[in-house]
Each structure stands twice: as structure tokens, then as C-alpha cells.
Symmetry: C2
Subunit: 334 residues, 2 copies
């Protein structure tokens, strides 16, 4: 009870060999009911916690799934995680999260760290990686799933939506409502490739109708309500006759809406607003803001299913690429 218990201690106290104790505690077969009970009893009584470092080294298997996301503050990845967890729930696998901070070099470091633990699978947000990261992922002897985005060349497996298309679709919806003087406000712009793709798709979509952006703000920091509010205030000050703003995230569009509330502007009469992600935060607002559902939870679920599938089949899984269809909801702000 005092010093750290090892398997051999449990075995000795139970009067069996280490191997039998190991089998008993792991729920492996070939152990009689009675000895299993005795071993379990002793282990519990002495607070034995198996050393998975040793166990994993020996069994050459680690029941962890590495999940690498850019941020945990952005409200978007916790939902992906929760999709992953729910699928992994009734399997021996557990998700482990790493955060890359929207930095491609940080991502490399995090992924190297993750892979050094030899996980049973790896799920990473995005298709853009450093060359070294790409090599690591290709050589990793576990299934690797790139998620969120399908605009690009997946290494092998991939689950996501087309952000280019999401941008285009929102553009066509906005144009269909008759808006003409349109602005865009985005955050993390150089680094957030998906936001960038939505922007590109949006501009392209406007272009097909001969419309060009009236104003544009690319903010380097992370999304937040207050940032959305400030940038909206600035943009409307610059362009008083703007009639619609598309934001890189709902967090920002909520900020824009807050600005309108504070200034007594009517949405969408004075200015229309649209965001992206369909975050939960939109739900309680007095006005339903337009957004595109990014299928975050489902992406997590599908990715986890691929990992599970890869574990079952001994040989390599054929490449899987699932493109989900995001749903636009116009709400009352367009």
C-alpha cells in the first residue's frame, strides 16, 4: 500500500505467476473464475495501477487516438472532439488532444510528439502541413485521417466539407437576396486555411455575378465576439452604405450583431450578417443569424469510425474520402 505496487507484487500476494496476474487483470481468457477474482481483489485492495508504458511496449499496441486541432478556444473543435469521443466510447481507444495553435511548425512538433507515443490512429485538422509532417504521417504505421476540409490532396483518409464551396454557396445566397455592397471580416487569416478557402470561394461566387467586395478586414488574432464587434464598427464607419457582411466565423458575426444592437441598427434592414459554423452560441440570440453548418460533430464521428475500421482489418485500409454537405441556414439576418 505504501510503495508503488508492481504486477509482480500483486502476483506474489495472490500466489500466482506474473503472467496469470496479468491475464486476470486484463480480462484475458484462460484464467479460472476464482483466481481472477483473487487477483482482482488484491489489486484493488492495494490500489495497483498497471503501468501502461511497460504494457504497451510489450504488447506493441497503444490504445490511444491522437487528435490534433488548431485551438480549443474557438468553440469549433470541442464539438469535433465530442463526435470522436462518442464513437470511441465503446472501444478500448481513447482520444488524446494536441493543440497546434494554427501554426504549421507547432503542428509538426505536436504531431511528432503524438506519433512518438505510437498511437492506434491520428486525426488531424486540415490538409496543409509542413513537408516533414507529411513524411511523418505517410510513414506512421497507424491510420491517419485529415478532417474538416476536403479542398486539396489528402494523404490518405479524409473527412470534411468543401470550404471553397461553402464560401461560393453563401455568396450566391447573399446575391440572391439582392445584396450588392458586401464586406468580409475574417480572423487568423493567413494561418486558417479553411477560413481562407471560404473567403476565396466567397469572392469567386460574388465574381460570377460581377460583384466585388466593397471592404475587407483580415484580423490576425483569434475570433471573439468583441473582435467581431469592433471590426464591424470600423468597417461600417469606413463604408456606411455596406448592406451585408460575411464573417469567417459565427463568433464574429455575433459580435457584429452586438454592434448593431448597441447602435440601434436593424438587421438585416440596415445591414445583413452571415457567419459560419453554426455554433451553439447562435441559438439563444433574439435574431437567428445566417450561417453554414460545418458538420463538426459528424466529421468527428466519421473520422473515428475510420480509425476503428483500420484497427480491425489487419491490412491497410483503402483510402477513404468523405465529403459532407454543409447546410446553409438563412435565419433572419439575410
Amino acid at each position: 500500500m505504501t510503495k508503488k505496487m508492481l504486477l509482480k507484487d500483486v502476483a506474489r500476494l495472490a500466489g500466482v505467476s506474473e503472467m496469470t496476474a496479468s491475464r486476470a487483470l486484463r480480462g484475458a481468457p484462460d484464467v479460472s473464475k476464482s483466481t481472477r477474482a483473487k487477483v482482482e481483489e488484491i489489486a484493488r485492495a492495494h490500489g495497483y495501477v498497471p503501468n501502461r508504458i511497460a504494457g504497451s511496449l510489450s504488447s506493441q499496441s497503444v490504445n490511444l487516438v491522437a487528435v490534433v486541432v488548431p485551438s480549443l478556444n474557438s468553440f469549433v473543435f470541442p464539438e469535433v472532439l465530442s463526435g470522436i469521443s462518442s464513437v470511441l466510447k465503446d472501444s478500448p481507444l481513447k482520444p488524446v488532444v494536441g493543440v497546434s495553435g494554427y501554426e504549421i511548425d507547432e503542428e509538426e512538433e505536436v504531431i511528432r510528439e503524438m506519433l512518438s507515443w505510437r498511437p492506434s490512429g491520428l486525426i488531424v485538422a486540415g490538409l496543409e502541413h509542413s513537408e516533414a509532417t507529411r513524411r511523418m504521417l505517410l510513414q506512421a504505421d497507424c491510420p491517419v485521417v485529415e478532417v474538416m476540409d476536403v479542398d486539396g490532396t489528402p494523404l490518405r483518409h479524409c473527412v470534411g466539407i468543401s470550404h471553397l464551396q461553402a464560401g461560393r454557396d453563401m455568396a450566391s445566397q447573399i446575391l440572391a437576396q439582392g445584396y450588392q455592397r458586401i464586406g468580409f471580416i475574417g480572423t487568423k487569416m493567413p494561418q486558417d486555411f479553411r477560413a481562407r478557402k471560404r473567403f476565396d470561394g466567397f469572392v469567386e461566387g460574388l465574381g460570377t455575378e460581377g460583384v466585388t467586395l466593397v471592404d475587407l478586414e483580415h484580423y490576425a488574432g483569434e475570433s471573439s465576439v468583441v473582435t467581431g464587434r469592433q471590426l464591424t464598427a470600423q468597417m461600417l464607419a469606413r463604408q456606411p452604405d455596406l448592406d451585408c457582411i460575411y464573417y469567417s466565423s459565427d463568433v464574429m458575426s455575433v459580435g457584429g450583431y452586438m454592434h448593431c444592437l448597441a447602435e440601434g441598427l436593424s438587421v438585416p434592414k440596415d445591414v445583413a450578417l452571415a457567419g459560419f459554423n453554426n455554433l451553439q452560441i447562435l441559438e439563444g440570440l433574439p435574431l437567428q443569424l445566417a450561417t453554414t453548418d460545418a458538420c463538426r460533430r459528424e466529421i468527428g464521428e466519421r473520422a473515428a469510425e475510420i480509425i476503428l475500421k483500420g484497427r480491425e482489418s489487419s491490412d491497410d485500409l483503402p483510402p477513404i474520402c468523405e465529403t459532407l454537405s454543409p447546410r446553409i441556414s438563412l435565419g433572419q439576418s439575410l
Copy 2:
């Protein structure tokens, strides 16, 4: 390049012993510049990723800090994490997050899993654990820090605030503003011990002035803006003459505020609102909502510092308990 590289492969290719290769790659001293360069070059060229499972078993040290929190959706723990990360940044330690879902049994399982990896430290939210968890934590041969809450008996180290006091303080502030018909809305109530303590402190605080709660809602699900809005609507329908509502979280008070905006109620004239946590989401609102800063980031930082300190000193750290002082901000909603 094709098959998985081991240290011995790197060593062979570099024409040195495994030990030298190991030293070179770990940046250990006693390796000549030239051989170090050669080894590093070969490792990089072949995409060698060290096996930390083996390394950790051998060195009997794992550079991970386990962090167990109830949830990642609640907007509150990511900030604690970020405090932890920032302190761990320039140390070899890396945080690993586990989620207990506000369930004491789930927490036990997650902590057992975490400890089975023999981390260098463990940070866990809350002071309430199952008996088995308590035993595990006492026996763990790494520093354990309980965070967020100081109302109770810490196992050893502890960093947090008094939620009882936070509740009392908010009560006295509210009473000082002259409110008398007061309601409380809380979520995760049976399981979220800290919300419960704030509630208890709040009721006690009101009691010292002879005031009792007019209405009370204990919602089982997680906090969200929309839930806050709905419960507020219901409560105000039941108690039209309520003049103030205290919420278990800012997420909920924002929902209450949204209800007021939607219904054209004036805050605080028609009803005053107060939340807890000082979440970032409060920042962009048209009206500053009253709240108490829970010192989340600082709690994370202090906890991480204790872990680092514990690593340095070979012998056991004397128990440390840091009680931070939450700051109330009245904003414009009281």
C-alpha cells in the same frame, strides 16, 4: 524509409552505437559536434520518430502532465488549460487533457487511465472524488494539484478560489443595490460542486439580511446561452415581479440577457442579472453583465508552477494551498 526505423537503424547508418545515437538525438552532452550532426541528419532524412514508450520505460520518466477537467464545452476550462500550457511551454513537460464529464465515476476511470501512463504531474479540477480516486491520488508518485476550488480538504496541493465566498459576495453586492426579489438559475446542479457551493454561499449571503430566494431553477444539462434564455423566460413568467437573477455561469446570464433583449425588457431596470466566470463572451455585449472573475488562467499557471517545482526538488514538496481572490465586476446589469 519504408519500414519503421528504430534507434538501432539510425545508429547503424550513422556508424555509431545505439547509445551514442540516443544521446545525440536527445541533445545529451558528451557527443561530439560532428557525430551529433551526422546522427541528426540521418534521423531526419529517414523520418525517424523516437519511441517514447520505450524511452519512458527505460528512463522511468514521462514528460506529461495529466489535466483532468469536467468538460471542454463550458468555455471555462480551455482558459485554465491555456494557463497551464503557457507555464509548461518552456519546460519539457506537455499537458494531456482528460475529460470527466462532471461524473465522479468517469473521473475515477479517467484518472486511473492517466496515472497508468505515469505522468510527471496531475492537475484535477475539484476537491470531490470517489474514495478509490482519493486513494489513487494519494499513492501516485507525482505531484497532484487540485484546482478551481478551495472549499474542502485538499489531498495535498490546491489552487483555486472559494466558491462559497464568491456566492456570498455576490449576494451582498446584490443586496447592496437594493434588490429583494431574487432568483437563482443553475445548471449541472447536482454534479457541479462549485456551482453548488456558489449557490449555497449565495443563499447564505441573502439569509444574513433576512432575504430568501423567490425562485430557483436547477437544470441538469450543460450551460448554454439558449438554456439560459429559456429558463429565464420561464422563471420570469412564474415570477413576474422578480427583480434580480443570479446565474451559475455567464453563459446562462448571457442567455437571460438575450431574453430581455428579445422581450424588450430593460436591464437592470426590469430585471438585474449576474453571472459567474467572467467569460470572454461577455466582452462584446451591448451591456456589461455583472460577473465574478474566476481567475481561471491564473489558477492554471499556479498549478503548473507547482508541478514544475515538484519536479525539481527530489523530495516531496510541502503541501501548498493557494487561495486566489476573485474580483466581482458589477458591470451595468446590477
